[in-house]
Symmetry: C2
Subunit: 460 residues, 2 copies
């Protein structure tokens, strides 16, 4: 919160909300440091605990500046906004963003950036080691020395990847600043982009600028942030061709291009925009923004043809690449799902054939393949149950579906009452807790958060 | 078509449409008999071919009476209506049912009954042998002698199950007739019930009677039709307790009860109905009708609270039991999915534990478990792609989702523009072909229809 405090002082705003939150956090942290066990090797179970309670704790404390600053009257809103930040979702319960002090808005975007840092390390170092939902795939892909123990490897990997993350962030800030955006807004939008978050200090998000240069820069960096950061690391080390060898990256790029093509075609043919160029401009930004789970908007797609809207809704389930800051199911899993689909058909004709599923030329173990399909299934079960709860609280079907799809997938804006020009403020407190749970579950690849609810977890 | 012709003569209607369709079918059949190969043992691939082309052919010929009778000007509508009949879906493109000659309406309901006969045998004898989507589960469950070869076993099984099907149908017809329904309508509604079809010769379906007795009889028989017919067979042989031993039946019963409870509560609390008794009456009929994939309606649930509507939409994906005439994913697979969910969580805490998934006390092979999860995944992929196509043709998201959910799951009525008081007539011809494909794919457990599109299938 120190950096936010500095902005607060720079803009001559009341520094107390941030100071109070800092003191409270330091106090709580001191208690944990004093009374917690030290130097213990942790088991997978405790690994999940650290991940889940770490994120929940960050959101609980991260909401304090809003609470002390009187941004929201109820704590659940503060918690929601902070959870949305740290999970890089970008779903907001703020109805008027620009009246909030700039120091607090900086904190809001900074939570994205911190969350993004956490996610990269989580998905490339911690979860592969814990064996979650097929993430074992990335065990050998992580840069850094081959480890003997879990902790030293994580530390090494984290440092390298954070270096890349920092570099990408610095580059985007520079490009936005050179294009004429203020340094403050450049920083805020960079945080929202590279973390695929989507918070903006402006009421109308990126659309407020009506500036093609900003849109292109942000599109490029959303695309980068939606790709695997270990590829960026390798590229920076000189291996530029690694992108062309990586099956997930190729699929991701192809998906983006096909998606832009289809939506542009739909917007132009249905007359949503009069020219192909403006169809392309708005289609490409929205497709990249939703697919990478960023959630910045330049167009109110509420008015678009139903195919374009429904297509965006489907994108919310697909998300970014593994090892990116993007959320949802992720491309690598979608690839495996389609390969399983193909294999199932082939098997019916050739029941005796043994066909292994390959990724980047390597055969995947049956264990990993099952993990991926099971992950998809569990994702869908959580989606259905959570959206039924939202509907039970009185929301229409589209709003219920979109609210859950957009929080579970860490996108932010959805459809219906949570559309691009709307926000999550109208939801009941219970709905906000459920959606906060979805954000955390989706962000942490489901399992860490689900284990919290399992009595088995707390047995010695 | 002979029986329909008799009704046609009884009601003194023009018999030519049915006669022409009969002659055309006989002519085509003769060609196939004369030029087809005889006495060849078939491979799994050919088994799928027989199933897929058998159903498509039945729909193609079954649509002829409507075409010759001038019920629809376009053949695609005739094909859609016949496919909807044979797949026991009940989705209709008829805008005014009661103006159609009664002989043709009898044919319309009779296609349900014939389709239901086909489905029971398909799901309990053919598909388990071909190893589709976990249906191997039912290999040993089928009554009849343990077979040496595929064909004799199928024949034996078919006869036994058809006996049960006939008995159940006779009983329902009798009960409806005794309650005061005409013999003609009793037969038609029995066909629609025991096949979990949903066609009715009345414009307002079962709701037109406003008769609690009919509603209760039909509810009971929808419930029976949604359960595994091999259980009914065993019960008729004296083993009444088999229901209480069968995990799927218990889950199915529990699901129905919980569903009725939740929807009744929702309808009452939200004020959709003023009394608990009428909430219960309409909730229970609609829940059983949609869950068993029948699609008869007694209430226009368009006006219901969003939770109730969304809940019905979710039920469309679940469907009946395996070995019933019900469609969609089926309860046995849902049970396996939840057990896999539980095992995945447990595995994360105990990575070394080997936990087998059990059904009715027996461990399932990893192969069967994977088949089930993969089936779910493929079902969802087809659902998403088909509903994107419907949206691309200009329908709103709810209508697109519901049209595909209700045809792929063989329900009939959906939500939005295909709601309970509506029909499928407004869809474009292309949408009707796509939805016909969904009906066939859903009915034949996906694979048989998908294999038609695979070039691999046609290689020697």
């Amino acid at each position: 919160m120190v950096f936010s405090l500095l902005w607060s002082l720079y803009f001559k705003e009341d520094p107390l909300p941030l100071l109070d939150a800092m003191l409270f956090s330091i106090a709580l942290g001191s208690v944990l440091v004093l009374f917690g066990e030290k130097g213990v090797e942790f088991t997978p179970k405790e690994g999940f605990g650290i991940v889940a309670f770490g994120w929940l704790g960050a959101a609980a404390l991260g909401g304090l500046p809003y609470y002390f600053g009187g941004v929201f009257p109820r704590y659940v809103d503060c918690f929601f906004e902070a959870m949305s930040g740290f999970t890089t979702t970008g779903a907001s319960v703020l109805t008027d963003i620009e009246v909030v002090p700039k120091g607090l808005l900086f904190w809001r975007d900074f939570t994205h950036w911190l969350g993004g840092m956490g996610i990269i390390v989580l998905s490339l170092a911690i979860l592969p080691a814990l064996g979650v939902g097929g993430m074992q795939l990335f065990k050998a892909e992580v840069p850094g020395p081959i480890p003997e123990k879990l902790k030293p490897r994580m530390r090494e990997t984290a440092k390298l990847l954070w270096g890349v993350y920092f570099l990408v962030s610095a580059l985007e800030t520079l490009l936005l600043y050179l294009g004429g955006m203020s340094f403050y807004e450049s920083l805020c939008h960079t945080f929202g982009t590279v973390a695929t978050g989507g918070f903006s200090p402006l009421n109308k998000s990126i659309g407020q600028y009506h500036n093609l240069y900003f849109e292109v820069v942000i599109m490029v960096f959303m695309f980068i942030a939606g790709a695997n950061f270990s590829l960026h690391y390798r590229a920076l080390k000189g291996d530029w061709k690694c992108f062309f060898r990586d099956e997930e990256f190729k699929f991701y790029t192809g998906f983006v291009l096909v998606g832009i093509f289809l939506v542009t075609l739909c917007l132009y043919l249905s007359g949503n925009y009069k020219t192909i160029s403006s169809s392309l401009r708005y289609a490409s930004f929205q497709v990249i923004s939703i697919l990478t789970t960023t959630g910045y908007v330049t167009a109110d797609y509420f008015w678009w043809h139903p195919f374009a809207k429904y297509f965006l809704l489907v994108l919310m389930f697909i998300g970014g690449c593994a090892g990116s800051t993007g959320g949802a199911i992720k491309h690598v899993r979608i690839i495996v799902l389609f390969k399983v689909f193909k294999r199932e058909l082939y098997r019916l004709i050739h029941p005796e054939a043994v066909i292994s599923i390959k990724l980047n030329g390597k055969s995947l173990s049956q264990n990993v393949v099952s993990s991926v399909v099971n992950f998809f299934m569990i994702y869908m079960i959580i989606f259905v149950i959570a959206s039924l709860i939202i509907a039970a609280l009185g929301e229409d079907i589209i709003t219920s579906i979109a609210s859950v799809a957009a929080t579970l997938g860490n996108i932010g804006p959805g459809l219906g009452k949570v559309g691009p020009a709307e926000n999550y403020a109208f939801h009941t407190p219970l709905a906000k807790w459920v959606l906060s749970f979805c954000m955390a579950a989706g962000r942490l690849e489901l399992y860490a958060i689900l284990l919290i609810f399992l009595p088995e977890t707390y047995r010695r």
